[in-house]
Symmetry: C2
Subunit: 302 residues, 2 copies
């Protein structure tokens, strides 16, 4: 390698004309050295017609963040151990993809055999001091499925062992760019999945650090709470829950099918119960080369 090569960062090219520079393992370097190397690299990438430049800096290299920003990079996203900065160096419009944009919330709807619903009061948070009884809710953790998250929250907050039955509804809470700029953190767009779970045991053992109280409440009483009737969205949610408590037999929510993505990783497909039955029932074992057979077997023409 000649001495000039030392002045260029080693980047991986992506499928979109971009260069990805991963400095997670890089030894600490001075801001001056970093700046010289970055300047040389940017010059070379421009000549090569590169478009988007990505740099991932470990926490250990936080002293270099300022140098990148002063050279036109902006923050893209960050996780505990690193920050990712990007710069669009092409004349064409930027196609740098958005950062992870949503937090995923989950709620659990659990009924006992007397049409009472599992509710909690939280110690902190939005409902602090309001006396509102709410469904157990939480945020799904990294790498966790929606169902697993709902089962975990119910277990953590109330000690009840439960298992999934279906997905009742989804709420998308949108936050505009302007609003996000006016706020600190809590205003990310979020998606909330309400899952119906079935408890295998009805004895509540509430958790102490976040939960003030937990109990079974008659569904009508839950729905009637002023909080659940005053605002349309909460009224809609409560009313769907009420309807669910009356329709055990003829439900049309979303069911889940465990599958694998192209890298062989577990993935979850949520679809109508009819479709899930088809996939779970026969398609799973069907030979992919015998498409005609599968076609007739799985789709139960009527």
């Amino acid at each position: 390698m000649d001495s000039g090569a030392h002045q260029i960062f080693n980047g991986k090219e992506d499928n979109y004309g971009g260069v990805v520079v991963n400095l997670m393992e890089m030894e600490p370097m001075t801001a001056q050295d970093f700046e010289a190397k970055l300047d040389g690299s940017l010059k070379a990438w421009k000549v090569q017609g590169k478009k988007g430049i990505w740099i991932k800096l470990s926490s250990q290299l936080s002293s270099l963040v300022d140098s990148a920003i002063k050279r036109g990079f902006t923050y893209h996203h960050a996780e505990n151990e690193y920050v990712v900065l990007t710069s669009w160096i092409s004349e064409s419009p930027s196609t740098i993809p958005a950062n992870a944009s949503h937090r995923i919330g989950i709620g659990a709807f659990v009924l006992n055999k007397s049409r009472e619903v599992l509710v909690v009061q939280e110690i902190g948070g939005t409902f602090k001091g309001t006396g509102v009884w709410k469904l157990p809710t939480g945020v799904i953790q990294e790498g966790e499925d929606i169902w697993t998250g709902a089962v975990r929250e119910v277990e953590e907050e109330t000690g009840l062992p439960a298992s999934m039955t279906c997905l009742i509804f989804i709420i998308l809470l949108l936050v505009s760019r302007r609003e996000r700029h006016q706020s600190f953190f809590e205003r990310k767009s979020s998606i909330f999945f309400l899952c119906e779970l079935e408890a295998s045991n009805f004895e509540i053992k509430k958790q102490d650090s976040e939960i003030l109280d937990a109990k079974w409440m008659p569904i009508e009483e839950y729905v009637h709470q002023p909080f659940n009737q005053k605002k349309e969205m909460f009224r809609f949610m409560a009313n769907i829950c009420l309807k669910r408590s009356q329709e055990k037999d003829n439900y049309a929510g979303f069911s889940t099918v465990l599958t694998k993505n192209s890298a062989g990783k577990e993935s979850y497909l949520y679809c109508s119960i009819d479709h899930a039955d088809l996939l779970n029932g026969k398609c799973d074992q069907a030979s992919t080369s015998l498409f005609a057979t599968l076609f007739h077997k799985c789709f139960c023409f009527t």
Copy 2:
């Protein structure tokens, strides 16, 4: 204000024992001044029994990131114009909430009257050079609804005006913490919503910068592509699409209801068509104080 007060950052308390320090509007200061003030503040917050400390630094203050990290802060998240750092200063276990964790992808399933499905080939991306015909897909933008995103992608990629009919399925692609550490960016967990749209015009005008080709393809031919049959997840998705093309009349997907959250912002609720009909039909106008009336009116007991 006495001189000591200058040594403490002005923070807002949150409902969880935290302190939120927003430095978006702060005048540039030297690292030395920042460090002295941060040290004084941390000392005071510990005495006050505070738990989680949040600091939001604008891009203009990127020279201070290093100082915060050296004092035990870690990155929490970042957006173009700022980075947010957190530090948990209590002995109790950290309850700092997770960063936005998911990217939201959308796909559009559009049929014409001859049971042909709208498909595209992309210039770049995962399917580059594979010859695979795929459904139009994309990522939803900040503050954009799922439906709006699906309609936008179809319009952008193929020029077709379309409107929503229903949500067919959802796929959750999980990524573990370990996998994320091995990769750069592309491995965030994501949620993919497949929306069914109805085109009001069937003449394709493909977009040139990202789309190589677009056309109507017989649904069976689309499903038969080796790509759609080799991997289980793609086979499942393709098979649901095939089934959908055969069941126009008796579908049980998710429909959408526009509502408002407690801050009066537009929000979208996705639920079974039965539930949506109930909410759209009568509950919207029902008086909240007349719950008994609403109860009987909306839930159409049969």
